[in-house]
């Protein structure tokens, strides 16, 4: 780790003021991603602004029936919060599928959104990587790319966003509340993360001097018909190769509103309105689910080692939609995929 200065922020205004005076500093919340990257010299902030004591730790109902989650609520507390367990079990299951209990105890809601890719070249400062060193090239495109993206890639970067929680937040139409020098603004979850295009060094549309203060869930939580299926190399404590969040309303076998989001396949949690439209108003059966999967994957493209993800995603989508329709969500402890 390089030399850095350490300071603690006392309130939101303080944090925003501190980052404005030193743009090369970074906020630290749980530290589980930032400290790891600092040990590898991938991140080299001049200073750390400790936001872990800011009073952003509430999980509260909003006036329109939704829930507002403070940016510093630990992932573990969020997963097991009664409001989340009862009304947004899709979010609970996605969180519990990620990392380990120790890490979830540390990881914050805001930090989870901003965790960086697990591309091995990004982590290895001896190799070219456009995300780490803009203009140096992408080692993954012609290298080992088994874990990389199949959708929304660019010639500059084929990395994936590694979060599980974010896949559920995308499916649930969450909003992200941020505060910066110019005041507050709200981003739709699907506009929060971005595709790599020619500037993969920028993961999100958050400005570097902005602080995430909260994530807000709308009232609709799909507690009856949902499932989160995470497919990975080992059954726990591993990042997703492909993960699927599915939720729907059902009326006598016919699908009402439907949500489908994928992790491990793109630079952001992947949602596709055309695939969701193909579900709406249709019978909840295999044919419908296969059609939706084909639409979602219509532009999927494999690289040398990750072409398997296209088939895996297709079968995973059908399976997860089936689990959601049958109200038999994937268990996060008994790992059999039924």
């Amino acid at each position: 780790m390089i030399n850095f200065q350490y300071a603690r922020a006392n309130d939101v205004a303080d944090a925003v003021r501190m980052i404005a005076t030193d743009p090369t500093a970074k906020f630290i919340a749980g530290g589980t991603n930032l400290i790891d990257l600092m040990k590898e010299d991938v991140e080299r902030p001049s200073g750390l602004i400790d936001i872990s004591r800011l009073p952003l730790k509430g999980v509260e109902e909003t006036s329109d029936g939704g829930v507002r989650i403070g940016a510093l609520v630990p992932n573990s507390d969020l997963a097991w919060h009664p409001l989340i367990e009862q009304r947004y079990p899709l979010l609970r299951n996605a969180i519990l599928a990620g990392a380990s209990q120790q890490l979830r105890n540390m990881a914050s809601t805001g930090g989870n959104l901003l965790q960086r890719t697990r591309c091995a070249y990004f982590y290895d400062i001896a190799t070219p990587c456009n995300k780490r060193e803009p203009g140096s090239g992408c080692s993954a495109i012609g290298g080992i790319n088994r874990i990389h993206a199949i959708l929304g890639t660019s010639e500059s970067c084929i990395a994936t966003h590694p979060s599980d929680m974010c896949v559920a937040l995308a499916a649930l139409d969450a909003k992200v509340h941020v505060t910066g020098p110019a005041g507050e603004r709200v981003l739709a979850f699907t506009d929060f993360h971005r595709l790599p295009d020619s500037s993969p060094q920028t993961d999100t549309n958050l400005h570097p001097n902005e602080l995430i203060t909260a994530v807000e869930l709308p009232a609709k939580g799909f507690p009856a018909n949902y499932s989160y299926l995470k497919i990975r190399d080992r059954l726990s404590y591993a990042f997703a190769l492909v993960s699927i969040a599915a939720a729907m309303e059902l009326e006598g076998g016919t699908i009402g509103e439907a949500r489908l989001a994928l992790g491990g396949v793109a630079h952001k949690p992947w949602r596709d309105s055309a695939a969701e439209s193909a579900l709406r108003g249709q019978p909840a059966n295999q044919t419908t689910f296969e059609q939706a999967a084909d639409i979602l994957l219509r532009d999927a493209r494999g690289y040398e080692h990750n072409t398997f993800k296209i088939d895996l995603a297709r079968r995973g989508i059908v399976r997860t939609l089936t689990q959601a329709a049958q109200a038999t969500p994937q268990s996060q402890s008994d790992k059999k995929i039924r």
Binding site: N3, F4, Q5, I28, G31, T32, I35, D50, Q102, S333
Partner: protein
């Protein structure tokens, strides 16, 4: 394995001032002066000589460094000592009381839940956190919520059995 206070390259900025940190470690008030980049793990091992907590990967990937902070299990390699100023830390050295082993320590012995023993302090602290959470009931649930602790010797079946025994003992006591 990474050394304590790893400096990946020569410092380019003036050395930051060291910071005074107060920690309650295993019931004792401790004060230490550390550089900002000192992890809680290095503070425990190198500054307080509490070497029961192990460094396996130093990257949150193995669980050997698990300790309890304000009663919750965390990876001490991924947090900074300065961030925990004022916190109550329990390491494996702090689990036994008045000469009696903690029920988890006894259960690990009874079930031979280790081979080399390197992962054991982390397993035991993690299991103490798991029992306090009260979420794991079945063996499947124990396995899933203990997955943050890797055992290279593969003592997993005995670790699960030991945790089940300790859960029983501790439930009987309360």
């Amino acid at each position: 394995m990474t050394q304590a206070n790893t400096v990946g390259r020569a410092p380019t900025s003036p050395a930051p001032t060291k910071i005074l940190v107060a920690l309650d470690v295993n019931g004792r008030q401790r004060q230490l002066t550390v550089a900002p980049w000192t992890t809680l793990l290095d503070a425990l091992r190198d500054h307080l000589d509490l070497t029961g907590t192990k460094k396996g990967c130093d990257h949150g990937q193995c669980g050997a460094c698990t300790v309890l902070v304000d009663g919750r299990r965390i990876n001490s390699c991924l947090t900074l000592a300065v961030m925990k100023d004022g916190a109550k830390i329990t390491t494996v050295e702090g689990l036994a009381t008045e000469g009696a082993l903690h029920p988890l320590q006894q259960a690990f012995i009874d079930h031979d839940a280790f081979q080399c023993g390197y992962c054991t302090p982390g397993q035991i602290c993690s299991a103490a956190g798991l029992i306090a959470e009260g979420k794991a009931k079945s063996a499947d649930e124990i396995r899933e919520l203990m997955s943050g602790n890797i055992c290279r010797c593969g003592a997993y079946p005995n670790i699960v059995a030991a945790i089940q025994q300790a859960m029983g003992t501790m439930a009987g006591r309360s």
